[in-house]
Amino acid sequence: MINKILIANRGEIAIRVVRACRELGIKSVAIYSDEDTQAMNVRLADEAYHIGPSNPSESYLRIDKIIDIGEKCGADAIHPGYGFLSENSDFALACKKSGIIFIGPSSETLELVGDKMRCKAMMKKAGVPVVPGSDGTLEEVEKALDLANEIGYPVLVKSAYGGGGRGIRLANEEKQLRQEFEMAAMESKSAFGRSALYIEKSLSKIRHIEFQLIRDAEGNSLHLFERECSIQRRHQKLIEMSPSPAVDPETRDRIGMIATKIADISDYLNAGTAEFLRDDDRNFYFIEINSRLQVEHPVTELVTGVDLVKLQIQIASGKTIPFKQSDLKLNGCAIECRINAEDPLSDFVPSFGTVPSCVIPYGPGIRVDTYLFPGCRVSGYYDSLIAKLLAWGRDFDEAKGRVKNALNEFYVEGIQTTIPLYKTIIDDPAFIIGDLSTDYLDRFKIFDKVHIMAKEYMKKNVDAIVATALLHNVLVKRGIDMQQKTNKRSRWKEKGTFAQGLNYGI
């Protein structure tokens, strides 16, 4: 029986878990670093504990401190969210040793699926199709070069300790492979203390399609259909949707069954994701298991009606999945845009600081998972995801129309976001016909289109732009006039009036 859950995370996912706890009548406990003192999850949780300095390695990644707080506050379970310690087998083990339920797979399963090579080898052996590549990690660049010659360029250099697309590098030829391999090794060492890289054949025009898995302690293994996550940048997902335009009902059943088999083979517990690549010849290759709740889980929630976080908690408390595969229906279409604090017009420069005001969209079919509120801080210490904008529709067209509306209503003051990028994609013909692939942004020159769209906006709004500029002069003049008047009356208050810079004359 779970009565209290410590949420070992921050941001929107921490809020998401608080809400699930409340629905279940479970107390929730937040942790917060120096940077997150005023965060929304701290406000919403029943209890909140300070965890340390802003740097994640001194706060959200500190297993010892988290277990300590868990014991102190009497938590029965810990929800790790995504990122941070969510796929860390040591953390799962530490929880177990303290008698706290880790809401996720066992440390053994985490270890297996965290070792991507071992996991891939195991699946390959069980007949699951996988992408050609090295059978284990490669320490030396020379071996990587040999293998690349064997399976053919282009190849991908991946870190066994990476995840979420982090540290994946493309090499088209020998010199580049050498350079990228060394850079990846450095990055991996800096982040994880060791470098364990492997090499994989890079397929062309591939789609990234993943299946949501759920498996309970009794071994009931179900899938909740697919998510199409092909629109990515540097292997980071940007837009996800379900259903995939490339998956027909027969394929859905077939690959879904493979996904549930993968869960069985890895003795998986709780929610997870089997990731596949699909090439232009409609082949699916298993690539890895994400052994956590995914950022994009609400996409599946919208089309199935299943609350995945509540289900996670129920499974962790020993309950069996309360429905069968045949009870699940894929209803309508859902699209998610990850709103990141990055400037898509300047090579995705991270953008952070205070958000003085914001307008979060509403309306039929709209769901926004976010930690934003007027006056909140977007920190440079953590992931740049600030909001997930989701729309459900009876079909793709309706969902698309609603996402578009919501993107136009969404306003975040003070920082740059990826909203303009999504406004461009959502109207792009290739997106509309579902011609997606992981190189979508380059293939359809989306960044150029973002610039063109910005200019088109300006052309349509020349009058408003010029009026804005003109009004500045009007208001500055007014401010100075008022200042002069007020100065005569001896006191002068700045607040709410306009008195900046010079009077340019009108």
Binding site: M186, D383, S384, I465, N473, Y504
Partner: protein, 169 residues
């Protein structure tokens, strides 16, 4: 006044024709008159109706000639000139050689590694330094071929956006 929307390279005359109320005025943009009504003006921001459409705008950065605006959430740069001032006077500034030699960081972050060395010959695209920002490692690459003349980054230090990372000649 003349206003130039930089990205469109479009210059338009605009002025207030007359006030018709405490917050309402007729303005002229180019040849056309418009009704403009101020709904709200706060510090650095404004809401107004132009003819019959609502707009909100922010004044991000204003100096004597350039205005960084955000109109309905979209950034735009407008230059303004008293009608007699020569438009050419400012364009020379931007083509200065100093700026072209300097490699600026387009990102704030912590320097995790300095790859280039002073005096080194580099090609456009070669990695000069690696920064970490928002969990991502980002390479700062040479913007041109040449010799690294100055190098203004140290491992472990934090730099701001537009920090001059190196001078390449």
């Amino acid at each position: 006044m003349e206003f130039k929307i930089e990205d469109l390279a479009l210059t338009l005359k605009a002025n207030v024709v007359r006030k018709v109320g405490p917050e309402e005025m007729i303005i002229k943009i180019g040849d056309k008159e418009h009704v403009l009504q101020i709904l709200y003006s706060g510090t650095n921001q404004i809401e107004f109706m132009l003819d019959n459409s609502y707009h909100h705008a922010k004044y991000i950065d204003i100096n004597s000639t350039d205005m960084q605006l955000e109109v309905d959430g979209n950034p735009v740069t407008v230059s303004q000139f008293a009608e007699l001032r020569a438009i050419t006077s400012k364009s020379s500034k931007h083509s200065s050689n100093v700026i072209q030699k300097a490699l600026m960081s387009f990102i704030p972050g912590r320097v995790v590694s300095v790859v280039a060395k002073p005096g080194m010959e580099v090609k456009k695209g070669d990695v000069i330094a690696i920064l970490e920002s928002m969990k991502m490692q980002v390479a700062i690459k040479a913007h041109k071929d040449g010799k690294v003349k100055e190098l203004n980054v140290k491992e472990g230090s934090s730099i701001s956006r537009n920090h001059k990372v190196a001078l390449i000649e």
